[in-house]
């Protein structure tokens, strides 16, 4: 993504989110990282940089399609160092190669680094590849993780560009252009990642010694990052949400002439009254704060907290039941 394609609000929010992630990664690397891997980090950075140079324009979107390299880096270095290497590669591209930009830097780091290093690698790659003993598993893990990482990243590009209000491209068309192209790129990236890991496993097995102990983000941290991202979206990006009806409301309006369907009957009336009483944040606003931007932000943040608390509570109950058995 280039600077011209993001608004200051979206660029600033993503820059802040990525800065926090960089800070956390840097602290982790400082504490736990093996210094002998610094040359590997540098060379991997140069390698991924060279691979990212092979890119092409995706018509109509303003974005370019290319390999991200996040899963490849994470598989060799661990989540945190991989995220830092990718952040370094992206700033070099932005400064010296006019690819990306300073304002869009946060978006690019998040789209390419966060999903690949902190989601696709620990949640998809590691469980499948396990101890790197089977080549088939390595390839399957690489391809699947590559696809997941790039699909999520590409979807974020769509959301960020649309939130910025730069393009008139409808959401469906935009996503329809981005997702299939990145499906193919993800598969190619997966194959390349698999080939590199298999080759290095035979040529440099010492690089994989203690791989299980490599710095991958633990599940709790992954959840923490997701919560952070949710806060950023609910707190900052929600301000940019369109006031126009959503897709379903629009379709209903076109079909019936009304944005919402009404129904009659005792049950409906009872539920409607109950909803009116229970809805603390009706229309994404806090009643006592009015309809202002601050009200929307607080409603969004409160919503994220409530959902997170509900999920944690449900997980604890399930865990307790499981241990009882």
């Amino acid at each position: 993504m280039a600077d011209a394609l993001v608004s200051p609000a979206v660029g600033g929010a993503m820059l802040a989110t990525s800065a926090v992630l960089i800070g956390i990664s840097a602290r982790n690397v400082r504490k736990n990282f093996d210094n002998s891997k610094i040359p590997l980090m540098g060379v991997m950075g140069a390698f991924v940089f060279a691979m990212q140079m092979i890119n092409f324009t995706i018509p109509g979107t303003g974005s370019s399609g290319h390999i991200a390299g996040g899963v490849m880096l994470a598989a060799l270095l661990g989540s945190y160092p991989a995220f830092l290497v990718l952040s370094a590669v992206l700033i070099i591209q932005a400064l010296f190669f006019a690819d990306g930009g300073l304002l869009a830097y946060g978006c690019n780091v998040f789209n390419m680094g966060f999903w690949s290093c902190f989601i696709a690698y620990p949640l998809v790659f590691k469980p499948i590849a396990k101890d790197y003993s089977s080549n088939g598993r390595i390839f399957a893990a690489s391809i699947l993780a590559g696809i997941v990482g790039l699909q999520l990243g590409a979807f974020c590009v769509v959301l960020e560009t649309l939130c910025s209000g730069i393009t008139e491209l409808p959401f469906k068309v935009f996503a329809g252009l981005m997702q299939p192209i990145h499906l193919a790129i993800g598969a190619v990236e997966g194959v390349l990642t698999g080939m590199l890991i298999v080759f290095l496993k035979s040529a440099r097995p010492e690089l994989f010694a203690g791989q299980n102990a490599a710095q991958s983000a633990p599940l709790k941290l992954v959840c923490g990052y997701l919560l952070l991202a949710s806060f950023a979206i609910a707190g900052a990006l929600s301000l940019l949400a369109s006031e126009n009806p959503d897709g379903l409301e629009w379709s209903i309006f076109k079909a019936t002439g009304k944005e919402e369907l009404s129904a009659s009957g005792a049950v409906y009336e009872f539920l409607e009254k109950a909803q009116a009483k229970l809805s603390v944040f009706a229309d994404y606003a806090i009643a006592s704060m009015g309809d202002g931007a601050l009200s929307a932000v607080f409603a969004g943040l409160a919503g994220v907290l409530i959902v997170a608390a509900a999920v944690v509570l449900a997980a604890r109950i399930l865990k307790a039941r499981h241990s009882e058995r």
């Binding site: 600077d3 394609l5 993001v6 660029g11 840097a26 540098g42 974005s63 300073l102 304002l103």
Partner: protein, 253 residues
Amino acid sequence: MRELESFSASSPAYCAASVKIFASLVFIVCAVSFGVYDVRVVLFFIYPFVLFFIVRPPARIFFTRILIVLPFVLFAGISNVIFDSSRVDLPFGIEMRGGVVSCFTLVCKAVLCVGSVLFLVLTTPVNAIAGGLRRFKVPCVLVLQIVLTLRYLEVMLEEAVRMNSAYSLRAPNRRGVHFSDWPKIVARLFLRSLDRAENIYSAMLCRGFCARKSMDFFRSKETAAEIFALAAFSASCVFLRVFNWQFQDFLRW
């Protein structure tokens, strides 16, 4: 890269790297914040125009970099031309299709953003940028990674040139690298670059390299005059952005 580096090494610094980085960010934010139909964004071309005559960058490097970005932005702009059929009033009573205006402003913003970053790297060597980033408390490990990746990129390129020479000597009748040889060559290139990188890093450690001290060595402090200049520049950007200029005002002047 080398052209950029040699130019930045010979160019006067003008001011501390941190000041230039901050000024670039302010400029980009102000330029990008114009609305899609707001053609006042062209006013911001005053800055690169003035800087061009002060810095005098090699035109080829400058315009090539801008040309790299244009296809991406134009593709995004063209979709606006297709989908946005609204009519927009422009200065001097001109009325135009909204998509065309938003495409124009998008291209302007892209050129301005790339231009500002280019002026930053054309007047600031890599190590000074690293020092500037440290001034903003960017983690040392990330700054080290940026500097090392740039250096190792050269190492990798050197190895690639060597391997290409060796390949062409072994297969003189073949033009380019055969498709089937690519995986082996890329794999060897990776291993050879890694070996050289490890040797280089070991040599650095033997000479007492310490990442934090090394990165902080280039961290220059801003002078009062530089901070004043930065404040004036930022104020001028914000003024140009916020004040509701009408093009007719310029004509009246």
